[in-house]
């Protein structure tokens, strides 16, 4: 490496100064939180209820184990959400008059499922459809609860993909059509690959949200981490298991959100 330029030396010094100030002020805030919060009169009670080391140690392994169910539910929902979202996005883009009902259905679907609270859909589908008298195992809350998640999240994903499709300039379509490509091939080889790439960050954020909403399935029976934490809370009359669950969630969602932001920045940079 060659000797640093004058500008590099200047910038290095500036950066060091800025880092120093940032570190000092962060420390000051942390220290004051650590010192001041315990001075609050109720701190001891809060600590015993929420940050109880003994309860934490006893429940954390069980919580981790329950989290595997969250991961499994996420793992089978995510690809189905992606597939359904894509289908609906394409259906909303149909211009053939004969297929107008399909398009209408796709529009109604996205409007309805984006307009409902997830938990409501989970209740309605998770208890409602099996209540019609389906035999086991087809009435399983895993199936219908997952379907509820898939329906809601695919509606969001469809909208994101559609916005991606619309963000691709008309000139790309014109260029493809002028070469004699069919409408379907134009979508498949020219528009979609660009559109999907563009919406990766937005979809990443949706999937982070999905990872959290998987916990809502516990309302209709499955004992995943949120429910397991509730059971521990009830047995021990202590909220620490929820803190344990929160830590496990954060360990997954913070890196995932950071990664989505990183992708978003890259996309922004390459587009400008």
């Amino acid at each position: 490496m060659s000797a640093p330029t004058r500008r590099q030396i200047f910038e290095t010094r500036q950066r060091r100064r800025a880092n120093g100030i940032a570190a000092a002020s962060t420390c000051a805030v942390l220290v004051s939180v650590v010192l001041l919060v315990p001075l609050a009169p109720g701190w001891e009670a809060v600590q015993r209820s929420f940050f109880n080391a003994e309860v934490f140690a006893n429940t954390f392994p069980g919580l981790l184990n329950a989290f595997l169910l969250d991961v499994a539910i996420f793992a089978w929902c995510a690809p189905l959400i992606a597939a359904l979202g894509l289908l609906v996005a394409l259906a909303r883009d149909l211009r053939t008059p004969a297929l107008y009902p399909v398009r209408l259905l796709a529009i109604a679907y996205t409007d309805v499922f984006r307009g409902l609270p997830v938990i409501l859909v989970i209740y309605l589908i998770g208890f409602g459809i099996p209540g019609l008298g389906l035999p086991r195992p087809w009435n399983s809350p895993y199936i219908w609860g997952s379907l509820a998640l898939i329906l809601v999240y695919a509606a969001y994903v469809a909208e994101v993909i559609r916005s991606g499709i619309e963000s691709i300039h008309q000139s790309q379509r014109a260029a493809a059509l002028s070469l004699g490509l069919s409408g379907a091939d134009t979508m498949r080889f020219v528009i979609l690959p660009q559109a999907l790439r563009r919406v990766v960050p937005a979809n990443m954020n949706l999937f982070v949200a999905l990872q959290k909403d998987v916990a809502l399935l516990s309302f209709i029976g499955p004992v995943e981490i949120f429910r397991q934490a509730g059971v521990y809370k009830s047995l021990m009359a202590n909220f620490t298991p929820y803190v344990g669950a929160a830590i496990i969630f954060l360990a997954i969602t913070i890196p995932a959100t950071r990664y989505a932001d990183y992708l978003m920045n890259i996309t922004r940079r390459t587009q400008s």
């Binding site: 260029a175 002028s178 004699g180 690959p193």
Partner: protein, 248 residues
Amino acid sequence: MPTLSLHDVRKSFGGNRVLDGIDLTVRTGEMICLIGASGSGKSTLLRCMNLLEPIDDGRILLDGADISEPGLDPQPIRARIGMVFQSYNLFPHMSALDNVMLAPRRVRGLTREALRGPCAALFERFGLSDRMAHYPDQLSGGQQQRVAIIRALAMEPEIMLFDEITSALDPELVGEVLDVLRDLRGTGMTMVLATHEMGFARDLADRICFLDQGRICEEGPPSEIFSRPREARTRAFLSRVLQGGMAG
């Protein structure tokens, strides 16, 4: 033998009459340059010829067959007519070679293996042999526009339409693209160009059409149009654009 002919073609966008009765015949091997002020309808005319825009009235005949028939499948027609755009419109997610191969593979059903030879020859011919694997954003404007031309040529079209393909280029890159057009002219390709390059049009065109407010106001060989324009509007337009451009 006439290849492509337009008869009383009309086109409006909303209330805006953009093509107002165009009659034009493009003969095999001929090179026609469309000139005219911005907004006079040059791009629209080219897009209508390629069926990217449906026309409101009139007819377009290709080898005698009416291709402007409403309800006709435009796909096979478009495959016979190549088009190159001002803004290149390469597919940014594909390498230069894939850009060129996509349509022949999907429309003409050729395999990559079958296409490799002819495509390589095209890249070679336009001086881009070492750029086949590059992505559009790794190419200069002039290189991108040449790839766009290769992409259209790979479909082996009967007619090529060019819409101001040098307008978006830095001045020093214009030459390399015009050289490509010269090369094509030499092979006898039938071409229609919308252009602001008056010098180029005068040197190479068989015919110049001056468009004004959606009509062909005057047409004829370059020697006539540039030296003895009959219409007052043609004279006004030419004096305006030739002030700077032609001298250099």
